[in-house]
């Protein structure tokens, strides 16, 4: 299992290393960057949904906190972008912990409700506080600089994001095999049984929820700096759904499934753009068909079919 898991990591590294040399133009580089950013968020979300069995329908809200921290703090208060990014992550973590503690004593649908509510409140706040956030029109984000070196070109961004993705995949694989990961899987399997063997269920759930929220916030900051502009759409309900869909279509509790899901669903809107007016119908229909025929997601279903574990 260990060996096979790392084979996947080497493939990811190889693909990421070769990709920029085979992509025909900057449109595809841009697409690859956005896929990688989504993949990192989805890795975190999959730890929550796939491994711990909890649902968040408000993750785009956390993304939004990170993005707007990186937009508002440097523009209005002259903060260093790195500091702003960390402040966003810290605020997100604190908020997630505050909300999670009472909620995680509940089950599935109530958490879905609470996270959904939180996400919507964040989105409405961002839309309304126009003097800080530019309201529905959004606002520009200053360039990201570190030690006097400014990230501007797509190529630079590509390598930064590719490195982050590699580290995230490696960290996720290790986390799953750690005692923490085993505890998570145990509580997905049976909460009562894991409590019996001494797993502090609520603490683990809160920890993984906070971790995935902080992941989302950091990537929100990265997105904001990369695109150079933020709008409230980044934090809306539909984006939360997109992220959850990436997890489920790729495959719950599958690290590589997260990557596949992120790649496919980031590309899908581009592919559907030719359907003029029918995009929403097509997107919805594809979601339904995937879930009806592959309820466990692509990677686990295919892995089961060809007889290999993931």
């Amino acid at each position: 299992m260990h060996k096979r898991a790392y084979t996947g990591l080497y493939i990811v590294i190889a693909v990421l290393a070769v990709l920029p040399f085979v992509l025909p133009n900057s449109f595809y580089v841009d697409l690859a960057i956005r896929m990688a950013i989504n993949a990192i968020i989805v890795l975190g979300l999959n730890l929550l949904i796939g491994f711990a069995g909890q649902i968040s329908l408000g993750h785009a809200g956390f993304l939004g906190i990170g993005a707007y921290a990186s937009a508002v703090l440097p523009s209005h208060f002259g903060w260093n972008p790195v500091l702003a990014m960390l402040a966003g992550a810290l605020a997100t973590g604190a908020l997630a912990a505050l909300v999670a503690r009472p909620i995680f004593k509940l089950k599935g649908n109530y958490l879905a409700m609470a996270t959904l509510g939180l996400g919507i409140i964040i989105n409405i706040t961002v839309r309304n506080e126009a003097q800080w956030t530019g309201g529905p029109d959004g606002m520009p984000v200053p360039a990201f600089g570190l030690f006097g070196f400014e990230l501007t070109s797509d190529k630079h961004w590509y390598w930064v994001v590719a490195a982050l993705l590699t580290v995230s995949v490696w960290a996720s694989l290790n986390l799953i095999d750690s005692p923490f990961g085993r505890a998570l899987r145990a509580l997905h399997g049976s909460e009562v049984a894991s409590r019996v063997v001494g797993v502090d269920v609520v603490r683990y759930k809160v920890a993984i929820f906070v971790l995935s929220a902080v992941f989302a916030s950091l990537m929100g900051s990265i997105t904001a700096h990369y695109v150079g502009f933020v709008t409230p759409n980044l934090a809306d309900f539909f984006h939360s759904i997109e992220l959850v869909t990436m997890v489920v279509i790729g495959g719950m509790a599958s690290v590589y499934g997260s990557l596949i899901g992120a790649v496919l669903l980031t590309a899908l809107p581009q592919a559907l753009a030719t359907f003029e007016g029918w995009e929403t119908v097509a997107f919805g229909a594809i979601l339904m068909v995937c879930m009806i025929f592959l309820p466990k997601g692509l990677v686990p279903t295919l892995a089961a079919k060809f007889g290999k574990g993931d």
């Binding site: 004593k105 509510g117 409405i124 979601l287």
Partner: protein, 291 residues
């Protein structure tokens, strides 16, 4: 002072009745299958949009309204047959995504065939406001409240006095036990989708003369219906109605006295607050896990 308070109360109860109908829809499907149907809001939208379409096509009002309830009910049944029944027993999140997919399909189709414009429906019995203690009440509000009240009474009768209703209740208590005593639980699931789609559509039709409608009103209305259902304790019919009215009234009060810009955030702030202190909603049953 009093007039203003009454005014907010009237508009709150009116909108709240729509939330209550949506929340009842969530409750019915949840009880039959444990599915949170995120397409519920689209039934509200469909009801309003189809009522507009059929009346503009020249159908007499009663026929148009009847069709605008029946068509969404058929859509609900189709979703159940094609997308929910085949994956029975799948994970909650899989089911959530299927219903969200269904809602996108419905919204997308309406957008393609009926356009993105906002539509209104003439009020059923005129626009002459009724004055009560200085506040005004639109006759349409009486329609909304009247129909909602009738629906609640009919549902109560259905669940407590008819065999089909009792079968549905039995299924919600314990699916396996219900099957063992010969209840057709697939039939129950079928019924619950038809009924909740029809309930949502009714709410959508009734409220359209007051709030207008367009292809995208379903998202917020549906989510607020979900808030109402959770507020009342997910799965509790009476709770759903009380939850709906409460969400409507608090939203109207908050918009009136605090901030109209944050009107849409109020139900969600409310539910977070409630879940903090009353984790099972106002009337949720205490559940014990069987190992």
């Amino acid at each position: 002072m009093l007039a203003q308070l009454l005014q907010f109360l009237f508009s709150g109860i009116t909108v709240g009745a729509t939330y209550a109908l949506a929340a009842l829809g969530f409750t019915l499907i949840y009880n039959a299958s444990n599915v949170i149907n995120f397409a519920q809001g689209e039934f509200i939208m469909l009801g309003g949009m189809l009522a507009v379409l059929f009346t503009q096509a020249g159908l007499p009002l009663p026929a148009a309204l009847l069709l605008a309830v029946l068509v969404p009910a058929v859509v609900g049944v189709l979703i159940e047959k094609l997308a929910i029944e085949p994956v029975k027993g799948a994970e909650t999140v899989t089911l959530i995504i299927i219903t969200i997919g269904a809602s996108l399909v419905i919204r997308g189709l309406v957008q393609v065939f009926l356009g993105k414009n906002t539509h209104s429906l003439p009020a059923f019995s005129g626009d002459t406001p009724i004055e009560i203690l200085g506040a005004t009440l639109m006759p349409q509000s009486l329609w909304v409240l009247g129909v909602t009240a009738v629906v609640v009474v009919v549902l109560w009768y259905f669940f407590n006095r008819t065999l089909t209703g009792k079968a549905m209740l039995a299924t919600s208590f314990n699916r396996v036990a219900a099957e063992l005593v010969g209840i057709n639980t697939n039939g129950v699931l079928f019924m619950s989708f038809a009924m909740s789609a029809a309930l949502g559509a009714m709410g959508g039709i009734l409220i359209t003369p007051i709030t207008l409608t367009s292809y995208d009103v379903g998202i917020m209305l549906g989510l607020k219906g979900f808030v109402a259902a959770v507020l009342g304790g997910l799965g509790n019919g009476l709770g759903a109605v009380v939850g709906g009215l409460l969400v409507g009234v608090l939203e109207a009060m908050g918009a009136g006295y605090l901030s109209s810009a944050y009107k849409d955030a109020i139900p969600f702030a409310l539910i977070l607050f409630i879940l903090f202190f009353m984790p099972r909603g106002l009337f949720g049953a205490k559940v014990t896990d069987r190992v």
